[in-house]
Amino acid sequence: MGEEVKLFRSWSSPFALRIVWALKIKGIEYETVFEDLSNKSPLLLQYNPVHKKVPILVHNGRPIAESFVILEYIDETWKQVPLLPEDPYERAKARFWAKFGDDKVLTSVWNVFIKQGKEQEEALVAAMENLKFLEEEIKGKKFFGGERIGYVDLVLGLLANLISICEEIIGLKIVDEEKLPLLYSWMQDFAEAPIIRDNWPPRDKMIVKFQALLDAAIASSSSSSSSK
């Protein structure tokens, strides 16, 4: 039976990148459908009526949404090059670190990016606390998945790209090689790995996009505090 795999994504969505990497690592053929998120297609709205977001994987006409859910679906459907460990306890740990990455690390890095002055200093302290947990977790391993890239690497992997973009724009080090040597080293190894290095979105476009996001965040926070 022919497999039909489509990935709905935007050019820059870091969550969609996780899916691109997973599909390529497993050698799965797929078609990309690029969405303009300011003008969502009827098909996107039909496939993800609840959140109306990308990424969406459509496998033989059936849609799956939410990047963590899609990653587990891919791993369970195409069993070559497993992303999650076999052992239930190791799987639970992998899911834990993935959730920590999105819920805490990403949010705290974003706060460092958009805040100013004293608030930014405090945000950096909070981000460091979270990043230190990752530093501890990667001890003794090349990747979070061990010898090769796994589920946690794919989830956290967007940090390897976004952090350096944010650092360049705000002129502030978030993952300092001296303070977080293992994490810094992981970011380089991950970004340089085959498949990963060939699939980053164009850096110059990302810089423009993130500068615009920063400008918008500053504008909205100064307008809401103008009465102070």
Partner: protein, 219 residues
């Protein structure tokens, strides 16, 4: 070798209740240890150093944190009894999607209903009911979200029903009036021993929430 299972938990916690239901569904014996969340134990710090939160399942000395992750772990390890997730990958993805949806929306909306007033509370009530209606649509005519069988999404959602009386009381509205199908589903779930023995009595939950309102100065 017998399994040693310890659960670090807090009786009114919705997230803790999920784990209690899952353990009961699998017929597992375990030691329940109530935690004081305002004076956290060294064991809790040791077993969940990242978040210092409950629930934490400790299985043969190894800790697992985050309620949805714990429920999946329980289902993975004790897979021969009462499976919570279906076997088919697409059905599993479907269940995980809805469990994630519930996690993202319901707790925060419920919290706002009980801890805010005026317009913010009104907006929260409206969004809460809209979301419950969305869940009713997903349930359809099935007895459970898992279909004929009580499953993963049912476990994720059912604990919230212990808090419905508190939401209605402090929000001054009726959930049953707007979402009768969902209330019928909660009653069906409560017929299961695993659910009725795991959920805290709604009056006790209500009194706990009343205490939280005083603590946050809402009263």
């Amino acid at each position: 070798m017998a399994d040693e299972i310890i659960l670090l938990d807090f009786l009114p916690s919705i997230f803790g209740m999920r784990v209690r239901v899952a353990l009961a569904e699998k017929g597992l014996e375990y030691e329940y240890r109530e935690q004081d969340l305002w004076n956290k134990s060294p064991l809790l710090h040791e077993m969940n150093p990242v978040h210092k939160k409950i629930p934490v399942l400790i299985h043969n000395g190894k800790p697992i944190c985050e309620s949805t992750i714990i429920v999946q772990y329980i289902d993975d390890v004790w897979k021969d009894k009462s499976p919570l997730l279906p076997a088919d990958p697409y059905e599993r993805a479907h269940a995980r999607f809805w469990a994630d949806c519930i996690d993202k929306k319901l707790y925060d909306l419920g919290k706002k209903i009980t801890l805010t007033k005026g317009e913010e509370q009104d907006t929260s009530k409206r969004e809460f009911l809209e979301f419950l209606k969305l869940l009713e649509g997903e349930l359809g005519d099935k007895p459970f979200f898992g279909g004929e069988n009580f499953g993963f999404v049912d476990v994720s959602l059912v604990a919230f029903s212990s808090r419905f009386y508190a939401y209605e009381s402090f929000g001054n509205f009726s959930i049953e009036a707007e979402c009768p199908k969902l209330i019928a589903w909660t009653k069906r779930c409560m017929e299961r021993e695993s659910v009725s023995s795991s959920l805290l009595d709604p009056q006790k939950v209500h009194d706990f929430v009343a205490g939280m309102r005083k603590r946050y100065g809402v009263e």
